[in-house]
Amino acid sequence: MAVHTFIESLGVYLPHKRVSTKEVVDGCVHRPRVDVEDQTGIRSRAAAGEGEYCTEIATQAIAKCFEISRRKPSEIDLLISCSISRCSGPEFKFTAEPSAAAGLAATFGIHRNAMTFDISNACAGMFTGVLLADALLKAGAVKKAIVVSGEYLTHITWNAQKELEEGISPQFASLTVGDAGAAVLMEGTDDSSLGFSDVDLFSSAKYCDLCIGTTSEKKHGGYVMYTESQTLLPNLIMISSEHIANRIKKLGIDVSEYNHFITHQIASKYVKGVGQMVNMHLGSNQLAPEKVIDNTQDRGNTASTSHFVALWDQILNGTIKSFDKILFGVQASGIVSGFASYTLDDLPSRIHRHENRAV
């Protein structure tokens, strides 16, 4: 039985099309009263191009993950797809069956005895997938796992441009999302100095109706997301920051040994707010502001992929290095709160070598 699980490889795919926040706002029938870029810190995001849907985005992320990995598709015996959006084709085609994971397994020639399934848990989807992979690996049920998410979300932005009401609109948050795919290849290790030393999530379900993604009732169809941001965000920050601080205290984690803190990437102010509130619950400023990763500026909120897109970007820009230690904060509608503590192996060096950008 493995002591820890670790991320053997990471692949991220960002669609090539870029859309600025100014372009998003200029396209709104009713412009929001607040300055979206100023409020969120989001300058631009990647957006899926023609013919790109969840499956294509997830496929690109897995392909990159395998390029960097030392493993072959035939070695994988668990594949979990975690996308919120299940938009798999034109005309807002949302697939119920078969699972996206089964399709991705077929695309990559993953062993037919692999366990494949989809999960859905809003923006906590990928970390829920990591939690499941961690359990199945440690229990010895599987040996190599891929957790993937292909988030095609900007279709709710294009709908919000049409539907946004004047004043405070429940569709404001739809203007902040970006598209991205992320895939991690996980396996077990007996080395307790590497990998996940803790992954912990729970749902505070009384808040489940504060953010709803569903079909639009307007003539143009498609999907929309209604968010009561003024109630959701303070509760997300409060519940999550207390959870993170509780795990740190309970596990006796020395925060000074950790190099980075990556929380869900909603907006700059939000990311900083979570860091500040963690310190408040810890009763000291253990989490230094420079450790708090803000990756929102040119990515927006990429939902379930946001932690792994941030990890990828910060590895590529040299901020996160091999053997660095990272604390993760997970927040999602539901409300879902999560925490993870992680020590990297030489993955950053291998990613740099692959991307031809030596450290």
């Binding site: 919120i84 959006s85 299940r86 798999s88 005309e91 807002f92 085609k93 949302f94 697939t95 119920a96 069956e97 078969p98 699972s99 089964a102 397994a105 077929a106 037919r112 005895n113 692999a114 366990m115 494949t116 399934f117 989809d118 999960i119 859905s120 848990n121 809003a122 989807g125 829920t128 499941l132 359990a135 199945l136 440690k138 229990a139 010895g140 912990d200 729970f202 749902s203 505070s204 379900a205 009384k206 489940c208 109706d209 953010c211 709803i212 993604g213 569903t214 079909t215 169809g221 498609g222 997301m225 409060m238 519940i239 207390e242 959870h243 509780n246 795990r247 539901g334 879902v336 925490f339």
Partner: protein, 296 residues
């Protein structure tokens, strides 16, 4: 350290169609908890597995909505109190065995004591239904999984197999065209035979790995798709018809509820006794097959 089904709740409103998933499941949970030695606050995980819901909600997870409706640690805001993680696991009919294996793993690594797998497929799809699905029975199911009291009981030997060559032979989806939503199911005319083929191949490989014959099992609970699927699967595997449970009521697919409803049926009707073993067989879209052994 195997896991077992400690309690199973089933809810069906035969007089109504389109009952929301949350209502179906909430009623099933009430029955499940009524018959259980566990209390709601002990539930560590809720895994919701149905694919067909009353409304096309993509966020949050339906499991969280069910958690609140059933009042299972729903007011918990602190990680230090009784708490539950809820999420959806979607993989058609094979999802039940996979969800159980997930909970089985959480129990094995001592990250859970009690898990709840719930399903509530309902026919109230959005928009106009065209090319209807194979058809399924609307019902709520709640299966409470905990650690078996002694070794050798409960679930063992999970096995899954994909048949990517049949990937496009069953698909269901919604789409929006010219101002209208449609729910659509597309299936091969030979879908039942393909499911039989997948079941036969999966079970034969499973039995080969275990070094057992199908006749060594006391009862067989296969996917409850149609009477034809069950009889053809029995014949293909050389099984004994009397051991194959058929609850399809003449073509009424139980979908992701098949295995828990089948297990409840054999226990409540005295068809098994302590120490008996059931072979569990799932098949679903993908096409995928799944097997497990259950020792009573």
């Amino acid at each position: 350290m195997a896991s077992r089904l400690e309690s199973i709740g089933v809810y069906r409103d035969a007089s109504a169609s389109g009952v929301p998933t949350v209502e179906l499941v909430k009623n099933a949970i009430n029955g499940c908890i009524h018959d259980s030695t566990h209390r709601k606050n002990e539930i560590d995980y809720i895994i919701h597995i149905s694919n067909y819901r009353a409304k096309e909600i993509v966020e949050p997870a339906m499991a969280v909505v069910i958690q609140r409706a059933a009042q299972i640690n729903s007011d918990t805001e602190s990680s230090e109190k009784d708490r539950t993680l809820s999420f959806d696991l979607m993989n058609g009919s094979v999802g039940f065995l996979q969800a159980v294996q997930v909970i089985d793993s959480f129990i094995a690594i001592q990250k859970a004591k009690v898990g709840l797998v719930v399903s509530g497929n309902t026919k109230s799809h959005i928009g106009t239904v065209i090319e209807p699905h194979l058809g399924f029975r609307e019902m709520g199911v709640a299966a409470l999984v905990d650690q078996a009291p002694d070794a050798g009981r409960g679930f063992s030997d999970f096995y899954f197999c994909g048949f990517p060559e049949f990937f496009g032979d069953y698909e269901s989806y919604v789409y929006f065209r010219e101002g209208e939503w449609f729910s659509c199911g597309v299936q091969s005319p030979a879908i039942i035979d393909l499911y039989v083929q997948a079941a036969e191949s999966s079970v034969n490989e499973y039995l080969r790995r275990l070094g057992r014959s199908i006749r060594s099992f006391d009862v067989v609970i296969a996917q409850q798709i149609t009477p034809a699927f069950i009889s053809k699967t029995c014949a293909a595997l050389g099984g004994e018809k009397a051991k194959f449970i058929d609850l399809t009521e003449n073509s009424d697919d139980l979908q992701s509820a098949s295995i828990p409803v089948g297990l409840k049926h054999v226990v409540e009707n005295g068809l098994v006794k302590e120490g008996n073993q059931a072979l569990l067989i799932s098949v679903g879209a993908g096409i995928q097959g799944g097997c497990a052994t259950y020792t009573f």
